[in-house]
Each structure stands twice: as structure tokens, then as C-alpha cells.
Symmetry: C2
DNA sequence: GTCTATACAGAGATAGAC
DNA sequence: GTCTATCTCTGTATAGAC
């Protein structure tokens, strides 16, 4: 545990891997590129993490654990307030509790920005091990949001709710990935701030017509 | 050009690559797996396509060209009809012209289903060559839709329109990818039909509140 | 405990015989 | 068109230096 000295070998690997995974993708980033740029030996990855896949898991867990904690706390606050006022939670507040922590976390540091772009891709990764790791962390939030949304819109059939929530996830994760993506055509480049527009969009879609 | 005999070496490679790229992802699928399953020699890929990347482009182009033609025709019909009636095109009709051909094409054959799942991932691929190939084909449609949407909602600022269209693309592409994805948790599994719910969702989001 | 050097199997790409 | 041989680069594993 270094307090004010150089980052440890392990942290240098994590930081570099996060950046390169985000920029070039998991499979296209070689361990030699990571260790070369981090200035550590190739075998240090195997020593500290065991494999390239375990390294990716470590990259994900390091940021996703506190981020999901923030999301759950915000959802709990929305729920508590609604119960105290004897009303169902508002769709907009549920959406905000998911979106606002994500996008404001993204603005916090350069590393976080890379990580959020990486996460936006993780949900469509074909690699089962990686995706399951990611989905396991997301499951408690998904369950809580679905339960709260069902209370917010009691007359909406369960299947319709699932579909609309699914579309919502698509909007958010694509935004997480693509908002800092330079390869999109100029006209499609997004400008900040995004939170309010995204909350508006998915709230309108959720509540239907 | 074989009419009623066995598929050619080239077509066998295309069909097998389409299925394996969709199931396991581009980078995780080896040329040995493709050529082995297709029953052709490894070097046949290099001979017919030049490289693994060019093979992916061929897989994309074969299906995306006719699909985009159908989308453009449907958009043109919506536009023509609106002009004939002297009114701006309806947001819902524009959304349908993009979504309906995509999802009904997906239902047409097993190969198409695999292809649509692959496309749903292509838009977040980190590989620049692949993504640019894909975006080049999509650009005329994106431009036409943005132009029609601007006429449909003349009071909406351009930046807000871009953002909402972006969120729409996220919903559709995630649906294309994930609707046949078995690794999602049981509660999030989607059931057909999707077209109407998706059109409702993105129309409501587009039109705002 | 940390880290380095190095060996190994599998990948995509390519040249050239047939 | 097809196939073999071979090149480089990848992820992984291990033996041993400090």
C-alpha cells in the first residue's frame, strides 16, 4: 500500500489495462502492449492476476463495485422518500437514480471516463465469462429497479415493462460507450450535458403514451 | 455461380463465418474454426477474401446492402406520402421505417437472425476498420432520418434532436443484439413481438413531453 | 513476496508448389 | 483453386533471481 510514492506494479497494470481495453477493446489489446506501456514485466500480469481475463475482471470490479453502491443508495433514497409520502415512486426518479450516478462518475476522472466506455461495451461482449461477471454485479440493481418500476406503473403488463426497461438499458449503455467515441460521424457527436436529456427520453419511453 | 448444386466454397465460408462471428464474436472466432466447420482449407479464406477482416466486411455487406435498401425505400415512401398530403412526416412513421425492416428481416431466416445479432454488436466494436465500414453504409440513412425528423419536429433544437436520435439507436441496436441472447438473466429475456413496443418507446422518447 | 527471463502452443498471414 | 510450410505475434506457464 503506497501512500504518496509511485503507483504499485499492480495499480500501473490496472490503470494501463483500463485505458487500452477501453480504446482498443479487450481482445485486441495484448498483454505485451499493457505491460510495455506500464513499464512492468510481462509475467507480472500472471503473477498479480492469474490471466488476462482475471485482469479484466479486476479492472471491472475496482470501479463497478463503488458505482453500483452509489446507484443502490440513490434508488433506496427514492424508495424511502416515496414510502414516507405514501405514494409509489416516480418513474423519472427511478431513471435518475440509475443514470445520474453513472454519468457523473464518468466525469470524475480520466480513468473513470475510460471505464464507462468499456462498460458500455461489456454488456454486448460475446465472452460469457466476462459478461456474466458484469451481469452478476448488475443483477441486484436490475431486480430492484424492475420491482420499483412495477410499483410506479401498476397497470403496465409485466412483459411490456421488461421490454421498455430493456430499451432503456440500450439507450444508456450506448450513450456510455459512444459519447466519447471519435469515430462517429461529426453530426452524431454528442455534447454535454447528457443526463437531463437521457432521463427525459427514457422516462417518456417508459411511461408510454 | 451454383444454381442448385452445393454452396460454393466462398458461400460456405460466408455462412459459417456469419454464424460463428455472431455466436462467439469476431476476435474470438479463429479462421481455423470457420474453415474447419465449413469443410474448406484454411488458406481459402485468404484466397477468396484476402484477410479475416475483409471476410467480416463481406459478411456485413452481403446482408446490410439489401437491408439498407429496404429502409431507404420505406423512408422515401413515408416522405413522399407526407409531402403529397402537405404535412411534415410523423415521428412514428420515421421510426417505423427504420425499425420494421430490421426486425422483420431478422425473422426471415436463421442466417439473418445471426446477422442482426452481429450488427447489434458492430456499432460498438472498437476496431476502426470494421466500424467505419459499417457506418459508411449507415450514413445515408442517418442523414435522411435526421433531416426528416427535423421537419417533423421543427421547434426542437438540433442538439436535442441528435441526442434523442442517439438514444434511439442505442435502444434498437441493443435490442437487435440482446433479444436472442441466452446469457441474459431469465427475467430480462425478451419475447416477440418487439416492433410495436420499440416503435412506441422511441417515438415517445423522441417527441418528449 | 516480487519480479524477470524464457519456453510453449495457438493465432493470422503469406509465399510458393501443385 | 487448393494445400503445405513457415513467419510473426499472441496468451499462458514456469523456473529461478532478488
Amino acid at each position: 500500500m503506497n501512500i504518496q510514492s509511485e503507483p504499485s506494479t499492480k495499480d500501473r497494470i490496472l490503470d494501463t489495462a483500463e485505458r487500452l481495453f477501453s480504446l482498443s477493446g479487450y481482445h485486441s489489446t495484448s498483454l505485451r502492449a499493457i505491460t510495455g506501456e506500464a513499464g512492468v514485466n510481462l509475467a507480472a500480469v500472471n503473477y498479480h492476476f492469474g490471466s488476462k481475463e482475471s485482469l479484466l475482471e479486476a479492472v471491472i470490479d475496482r470501479r463497478l463495485t463503488p458505482l453500483n453502491k452509489a446507484r443502490l443508495e440513490m434508488l433506496a433514497t427514492v424508495d424511502r422518500k416515496a414510502r414516507a409520502e405514501g405514494r409509489p415512486p416516480a418513474v423519472r426518479d427511478i431513471m435518475s437514480a440509475f443514470i445520474e450516478p453513472t454519468l457523473s462518475f464518468r466525469e470524475s476522472t480520466d480513468g473513470a471516463r475510460h471505464f464507462i466506455a468499456l462498460l458500455g461495451r461489456a454488456i454486448v461482449e460475446p465472452d460469457d465469462t466476462v459478461k456474466k461477471r458484469f451481469l452478476n454485479q448488475m443483477n441486484p440493481i436490475i431486480e430492484l429497479m424492475l420491482e420499483m418500476l412495477a410499483r410506479a406503473m401498476p397497470s403496465l403488463p409485466a412483459q411490456a415493462l421488461i421490454k421498455r426497461f430493456h430499451f432503456t438499458i440500450g439507450s444508456l449503455f450506448f450513450t456510455m460507450h459512444a459519447c466519447c467515441d471519435d469515430s462517429m460521424p461529426e453530426r452524431m457527436r454528442l455534447k454535454e450535458p447528457l443526463t437531463e436529456e437521457l432521463v427525459n427520453f427514457v422516462t417518456a419511453g417508459m411511461e408510454g403514451r
